[in-house]
């Protein structure tokens, strides 16, 4: 039996007068991998940022595990520990070592002891294949390594859902695959993932559902086979031909 991890019902959001999200309806089952793509400014990042409450939606309902997101600070805090987020710009804490980046959340927000948190951190560093970088500072690592540390940092919170906001867009081309490999492994291990990306190879490999957004709307959602072979709308066809032509 599948359960619903994330549910967005008629979600609307405005930045001032600008209508960024228009009646967004999206359901993510537990264990499902959803890839969101679309031209820049289409609102895809805003969708994931609303899910973990970095942005507030003005209309509609967002439910995580059946619980509705409200403005209650306690509910926000509990959500933000359960929904992990990987940013385009990594956002590692530059003044802390890799290990301290990973243990900060578990020790301060989850009340783990230092030893427990360190054991967990080393476990996840192993999993993102950089166990020997634990004592370095983020600035000493390559972009790809930094992004893998960021993924490990999210995993240390043992989130139920992991959101990715263009995780490879700030990386040099030769580092993209090392990050994608880690993400594919996570997907295979059954993590619930929502990924905003233009990496269509990755999408084909792991996505259960493709979502195409344009001008704040979800224009199309379909399984990847259908999405790539036979897009329903002209907008989506045009977008795909643009990013797949090279």
């Amino acid at each position: 039996m599948t359960t619903t991890a994330i549910e967005l019902v008629d979600v609307n959001k405005w930045f001032g007068d600008f209508h960024v999200l228009k009646d967004i309806n999206l359901t993510v089952q537990t264990g499902e991998k959803v890839v969101i793509c679309g031209p820049s400014g289409s609102g895809k990042s805003t969708v994931v940022r609303c899910v973990n409450r970095l942005e507030e939606h003005q209309k509609g309902t967002i439910r995580l595990d059946g619980r509705e997101l409200t403005n209650d600070p306690r509910s926000i805090a509990s959500i933000q520990g359960e929904v992990g987020m990987v940013f385009q710009q990594f956002n590692l804490f530059p003044h802390l070592s890799v290990l301290d980046n990973l243990t900060l959340g578990p020790t301060k927000a989850r009340g783990l002891t230092r030893t427990e948190a360190e054991t967990r951190a080393r476990e996840y560093l192993e999993r993102v294949r950089i166990p020997d970088q634990a004592d370095k500072m983020p600035g000493q690592l390559s972009g790809g390594q930094q992004q893998r540390v960021a993924i490990a940092r999210s995993l240390c919170m043992e989130p139920k859902v992991l959101l990715f906001d263009e995780p490879t867009s700030a990386l040099d081309p030769e580092m993209i695959s090392e990050v994608l490999d880690v993400m594919v492994e996570l997907a295979q291990d059954g993590m619930t993932m929502v990924v905003v990306t233009h990496e269509m190879g990755f999408a084909r490999k792991v996505a259960d559902k493709m979502v195409f957004m344009d001008e704040g709307e979800i224009v199309e959602q379909s399984p990847p086979e259908q999405f790539f072979a036979n897009p329903e709308t002209e907008r989506c066809r045009k977008f795909l031909s643009q990013i797949l032509q090279h």
Partner: protein, 253 residues
């Protein structure tokens, strides 16, 4: 020691041209008994100046943070409280504020049935601290704002609350660019502490004033006073530079 050689040389030079009676360095000539007593009297104000400045700066650093944090709030009401405090305090000249605290505040206390006397020492400290806190708050603000928004967001996504985000993520990074202007403010406090002389605080300026009244040698005594502040500030500057090196404020992240 090198820092002292130049002013001392200058002093000797000025002493040399005292032939026509413009200068009368005898008043602080350490080789005579009265000159030496005068020097001791002048320098004895140093301790009060330092004590007032250090306590006022310490209060201002804490108060400034308390004032700065609401300014970063997402809630408009908190930001307005911060703006009003900063704009209001920043616009009051130090001397009127000192008079208000020293002569006015006790009356308010009394009307509230409180028996809190304000002596020149605490009057000066309260005034300097409050007056400076508006500037300290602005320094914190620019420091906190210099940290990219992504840092705060990343902290939120690993479940840190507001206080934890500030303590473990934002402030440790902000302190590097907060420290140099904060040190500047400390030097400013040291200099402004001279105003405490007008409410009778026995610090450097007051001592010089009192001696001028009895010795009628304003030129030499105020020259000496300026030298005292110069040496004090140079020592602080050296200390600050040492601290900056230690905390890495002088290099890029």
């Amino acid at each position: 020691m090198k820092k002292f050689i130049f002013p001392l040389a200058l002093l000797t030079l000025l002493a040399g041209c005292s032939g026509n009676g413009t200068w009368g360095w005898y008043v602080i000539d350490p080789t005579t008994k009265s000159g030496w007593t005068n020097i001791q009297f002048l320098i004895s104000g140093m301790w009060s100046t330092i004590l007032i400045s250090v306590i006022a700066a310490a209060i201002s650093i804490v108060l400034g943070l308390v004032v700065a944090l609401p300014g970063q709030s997402a809630k408009r009401g908190w930001r307005i409280v911060n703006r009003i405090y900063v704009e209001f305090i920043r616009s009051i000249p130090l001397l009127p504020m000192l008079f208000w605290v020293f002569y006015g505040l006790p009356i308010i206390f009394k009307s509230m049935g409180l028996d809190i006397p304000i002596d020149p020492f605490w009057g000066a400290i309260i005034t300097l601290a409050i007056s400076d806190s508006a500037f300290t708050a602005e320094i914190y603000r620019s420091g906190i704002q210099s940290i990219a928004k992504g840092q705060k967001e990343a902290a939120q996504t690993i479940g840190l609350n507001y206080a934890q985000t500030m303590r473990y993520v934002i402030l440790p990074q902000a302190i590097r660019c907060i420290l140099p202007p904060l040190a500047n403010q400390f030097i400013y406090i040291v200099k402004m502490s001279a105003f405490a002389s007008v409410i009778g605080m026995q610090e450097l300026t007051r001592r010089a004033n009192e001696l001028v009244v009895t010795e009628y040698r304003p030129l030499e005594l105020y020259s000496f006073l300026i030298l005292e502040y110069l040496i004090l500030v140079l020592i602080i500057s050296a200390g600050v530079r040492w601290l900056e090196r230690k905390m890495g404020s002088d290099e890029r992240m």
